[in-house]
């Protein structure tokens, strides 16, 4: 890493005729809910895989900064009790000088003093904030967590992206969002509450032209909502089974420039599950009925002609029309029946 800061490399950057790329902002949302990662650890028989992930992530962020001097990064952690910006740091915390003294004897040994300044700024803050966050997490063991905070993280990331692009209007900053999450075996238990918020995120991401990439580590291969997210925003969906060589995955799949995504074969060329389920029966619907008022999907005509979700009464004539079955002429039926009896 230090080698990049070496003056020997300088002349390569200023090659005559090299095209100046426009700077870009990378916002990463990392799900560090301890419960998920412990489950993952138990399953794989490994220890502290979250540390591997975070290490890989730091290198990944540094690599992004190295591409262009005006590149920017932001990192949001979605933990069990809420979300937290790990970088850029909340400035108000700077006042607490007491924490600075402690900083020396913490795990900052991984960051050398001679490191490239921009890397060091990011890395120091990240490690520092992560340390604080895990301490907080330690205290909040036993608190109830009913849903994942990922959607909140994506919402905040979109708001941040919107702000930065507005501030940097003159240099036409490109932006993208990357979500790093760990899959649980319990499936989509809490995804139900996330449907509308994630959908809203998708629509605003398409509006501000910001692709959302997703890296899912472990768990089931599919993740309905996150796959839909990447599909709708022209992002990349990557499922990784273990944390080994994660950096390799990240750097090959996640650095594809949005303008090149039409040409390059992306890892997510699979089918996306767009199916809807019925409000009443919970079955997957192919042809269904939709209440024109609240847009809830039904696979059957509800009893009593009343929408189960919004209580609006349906027009009887329309219901009668929908219930009408196609008429099969009797004549043909009888004929075929005769044939059978003759034989």
């Amino acid at each position: 890493m230090d080698a990049i800061a070496d003056p020997n490399f300088k002349h390569q950057g200023n090659k005559p005729g090299s095209v100046e790329e426009s700077p870009s902002l990378l916002t990463v949302i990392v799900d560090i809910t301890p419960q998920l990662w412990t489950e993952f650890d138990l399953k794989n028989g490994k220890k502290d895989s979250i540390l591997d992930v975070l290490k890989a992530l730091i290198v990944f962020l540094n690599a992004h900064l190295a591409f262009n001097t005006s590149n920017q990064v932001a990192l949001i952690a979605a933990h069990s009790q809420g979300i937290k910006y790990l970088y850029p740091k909340n400035k108000a915390d700077d006042d607490e000088i007491s924490s600075k003294n402690e900083k020396e004897d913490r795990d900052l040994f991984i960051i050398s003093k001679n490191m490239y300044r921009r890397f060091r700024n990011v890395d120091e803050t990240l490690v520092e904030e992560l340390y604080m966050l895990f301490k907080e997490e330690e205290q909040s063991i036993g608190k109830v967590t009913q849903k994942s905070t990922l959607a909140g993280g994506i919402s905040a990331a979109l708001a941040y992206t919107d702000r930065i692009t507005r501030e940097m209007e003159t240099i036409s900053l490109k932006s993208r969002i990357m979500v790093l999450t760990c899959g649980s075996d319990k499936g989509n238990r809490d995804e139900v509450f996330q449907y509308i918020p994630i959908m809203n995120c998708i629509f605003s991401a398409t509006k501000i032209k910001c692709p959302i990439d997703v890296v899912k580590i472990g768990g089931s291969k599919e993740s309905t909502f996150l796959q839909q997210t990447t599909d709708a925003t022209n992002g990349i969906y990557l499922h990784v089974t273990s944390t080994d060589g994660l950096l390799q995955y990240l750097s090959t799949a996640m650095f594809i420039d949005p303008s090149l995504r039409q040409i390059i074969v992306k890892p997510n060329k699979g089918s996306v599950d767009f199916r809807t389920s019925c409000y009443l029966t919970g079955k997957v619907v192919a042809v269904g009925y939709i209440c024109s008022v609240c847009l809830c999907v039904l696979s059957i005509i509800p009893p009593g002609n009343v929408c189960p979700a919004c209580d609006s009464e349906f027009d009887e004539r329309v219901i009668a029309k929908l219930k009408k079955k196609p008429v099969v002429p009797r004549l043909t039926k009888r004929k075929s029946a005769n044939h059978v009896s003759k034989k």
Binding site: G82, Y160, M199, C291, C294
Partner: protein, 463 residues
Amino acid sequence: MAPSQEGNDSDEEIVNVTSRKQRRQVHFDNAQPATKKRKEDDQSQDQDGRPSKNRKKLKKKKSQNNSNLQGASGGYAWEDEIKRSWDLVTVDDETDMTSLVASLIEARKKRAAKRNITPYQRGIIRTMILTLDCSESMSEKDLRPNRHAMMIQYAIDFVHEFFDQNPISQIGIVIMRNGLAHLVSQVSGNPQDHIDVLKKIRKQEPKGNPSLQNALEMARGLLLPTPSHCTREVLIIFGSLSSTDPSDIHQTIASLVDERIRCKVIGLSAQVAICKELCKQTNYGDESFYKVLLDETHFKELLDEAVVPLPVNKVNKGFTLVKMGFPTRVYEDTPTFCACHSRLVYGGYFCPNCHSKVCSLPTVCPCCDLMLILSTHLARSYHHLMPLKTFNEVDIGEGTFPTSNCFSCQRRFPVLKNNKTGKLLTSSRYRCGDCSQDFCIDCDVFIHEVLHNCPGCESKPTI
């Protein structure tokens, strides 16, 4: 027109800026004697022999009659000194201009963030006929570069926005030109078709007279076959002050009322009686559907209003079930023909009813007439049904707040102080009532207009 408008607005918004208020009062005190003097001068110049006392009384009486013409200082508005909006704002040595301007900008954005958040039952599936005036009056240059060009540009934006917010709705476009109504774009749910047509019209010169009746009759004809669960709407952009009609337009209006077609008119020049009547009749006595624009931004605002689906009312209820298909997407290695355009494409969607392939959604299956949509299209309309609560501005109080950064974008809240008194002008914090997180004004606008999610509430671990 525009600058004076803004001046008035800012008057209302920032009365609590103390230095300005004082200045204004001083200003008026100066103005009053000046106008009086001028009056007397006028009298002395008018020499018709009457005693000046009587004359004064007459003048008083007259001024009472025309009280609505009077300016703030008691004289007529035109007798007042000219007040420029930029004269009202004065900078002392100590007052910081930037903080004042920043608070002004915030006040303006705040107004934009105000929305109606009552959850209505709305007619989500809409059919709208966009009727554009392409008559000679559209070549006027009061909107830049001229009315026609601006209207087309805004209409293109409108079509984008409309389909973005109402993905399962349909639009048709009719233009009024040379006394006739032309159907330029069939009723369909594909925004690209409409935009292509609008781009073509941009090159045409506006010509002749408009005919409101012809356009309305055509719109009525187009809306007749729409099923009962769709709302039927006509949006007219009307630039002229008259309409050249072949017969009685009132009969047309009556038939529109019978068909439950709702009309909205945006006037570009002045109020026209027939438009007002049309809107009133077709919207069950509600006159607010006819608006005349004030300036270009207002034009945009009026069009944006039309994007939001209308609330369902008792008379116009369309509570029905609609049969729809949710197709599955397929990927193919070899291209096959699609049923909708007969083009060779890789992959697409298979209709669950008849298994014909279509290349884009939402659409109506060309083979079995089933409406085909994705669940994402339905989700796009949810925020109309469940609007996000508005955030409340935090009181200035003692000037201490729990956080100093915006929750969602980490921007430091600006400290806008009146330099003389040291008082805060605004707190610049907007708090969500549910999660009590503070947001900056830009995020407030972004969250309510684009995101429709509260980042604070979504990041709570409990429901």
